[in-house]
């Protein structure tokens, strides 16, 4: 029984205390990659501890009362009731994940189909950039976005291309490519699925929010190292002028002064 309690305590610490610390840590915008790794290590660690505690309880319940620290004080009926309750909880969580995951998977399929159609029918130019197809489409909207999948793709609109220098455009593409190479799409979808299954848990909401912010900062850092912070800051500033999104100015300030990787 003690092992189960230790595992449950570990799950509680990883699901509550660690997110509470990470949500307030001042260094997370300076080290976004480390912060993202710690967020997901805490999440996966907490989930694993919870599953392990249930598994341990089931094993001990099925093999009968043991001796020493894992001896149950309850009778066999209590253990069987606990086991069935645990199984029902796991089943309910699994079916909830499937139910909530289906609309997300459907939206993903539709997005891939739309982007394929857009790239095929409306692209005035397509280039390969580090193994990723970059499609340029004519549009009044200033936009650059990436879509992961079997054929990962970046889309850039003519309005944005016209507004940027060649170096700034390269930095934007490197930013989007970093999302694809580092599987930020998958991480973001998992965080969104997690919060849609457990919306009442503050840790789930914080994980979703932090993932959204940190993947952008990680991609900014990768692009700044590859193309130089000046070009990325220039692209962020130009995009802010086009869209009115002033958060981009803060991102530009954050990357300014970061060193470019020596090649």
């Amino acid at each position: 029984m003690r092992v189960v309690l230790i595992l449950l305590a570990a799950a509680a610490v990883l699901a509550l205390a660690v997110p509470a610390y990470l949500a307030r840590a001042g260094w997370r915008t300076r080290r976004p990659g480390l912060a993202l790794g710690l967020w997901w290590a805490a999440y996966l660690g907490g989930a694993s501890s919870l599953v392990a505690s249930l598994g341990w309880a089931l094993v001990v319940g099925l093999t009968g009362p043991g001796t020493g620290t894992d001896q149950y004080p309850q009778g066999p009926t209590d253990v069987i009731v606990f086991c069935w309750t645990a199984l029902i909880a796991v089943g309910a969580l699994g079916s909830l994940a499937l139910t909530r995951g289906e609309p997300l998977a459907d939206a993903r399929r539709r997005s891939v189909a739309l982007l394929t159609l857009l790239s095929g029918a409306a692209a005035y130019r397509t280039e390969q950039h580090g193994g990723v197809a970059v499609s340029y489409v004519e549009s009044e909207r200033a936009l650059a976005a990436s879509l992961p999948g079997r054929t990962p793709r970046v889309v850039v609109t003519s309005r944005l291309e016209d507004a940027l220098t060649a170096g700034e455009l390269h930095a934007v593409i490197e930013h989007e490519r970093a999302h694809l190479v580092r599987r930020h799409g998958w991480i973001s979808r998992m965080a969104r699925l997690n919060v849609s299954c457990t919306p009442v848990l503050p840790g789930a909401r914080q994980l979703d929010r932090s993932t959204r912010l940190l993947v952008e900062l990680v991609a900014d850092d990768v692009a700044a190292r590859a193309c130089g912070p000046a070009d990325l800051a220039g692209a962020l500033t130009a995009m802010s002028a086009l869209t009115g999104d002033r958060s981009l100015l803060l991102r530009a300030r954050r990357v300014a002064g970061r060193p470019r990787a020596s090649s």
């Binding site: 549009s139 609109t157 989007e176 965080a191 959204r212």
Partner: protein
């Protein structure tokens, strides 16, 4: 009316737009004032641009090509679908006010210098 402007190689006057309406269409040709009113409304919606031709008449042209308009419509749908499912990662527009506050605090900016998307 937009289709007539798309099909034209050069900007058209209101009279030329009116003339381009098929005679054997489902209804009578619109009056010149109706054509002008619609063109002005399209201009206000930024779908049409107006210029003055060499002979002093007003000429109208579609601001965006047909493919550009189709691409815009597809992009709007893609953004709505992609944002809801977190499948599309955008260079801009993905952060909300709370994320901005985190960044602002990290950079040591005061509220009045801050940014909201």
């Amino acid at each position: 009316m937009i289709r007539i402007l798309w099909d034209a190689a050069l900007p058209l006057s209101a009279a030329e737009v009116r003339k381009a309406f098929p005679e054997a269409g489902p209804g009578p040709r619109p009056a010149l004032t109706t054509v002008l009113t619609v063109l002005q409304r399209l201009e206000a919606k930024r779908r049409v641009t107006r210029s003055v031709s060499a002979d002093g008449t007003l000429a109208f042209a579609a601001r965006q090509s047909e493919s550009g308009q189709a691409a815009d419509a597809m992009l709007a749908t893609l953004l709505a679908t992609g944002d809801r499912s977190a499948v599309l990662l955008r260079f801009a527009g993905s952060l909300d006010a709370e994320d901005v506050e985190v960044l602002r605090r990290a950079l040591g900016e005061s509220d009045d210098q801050g940014a909201t998307p």
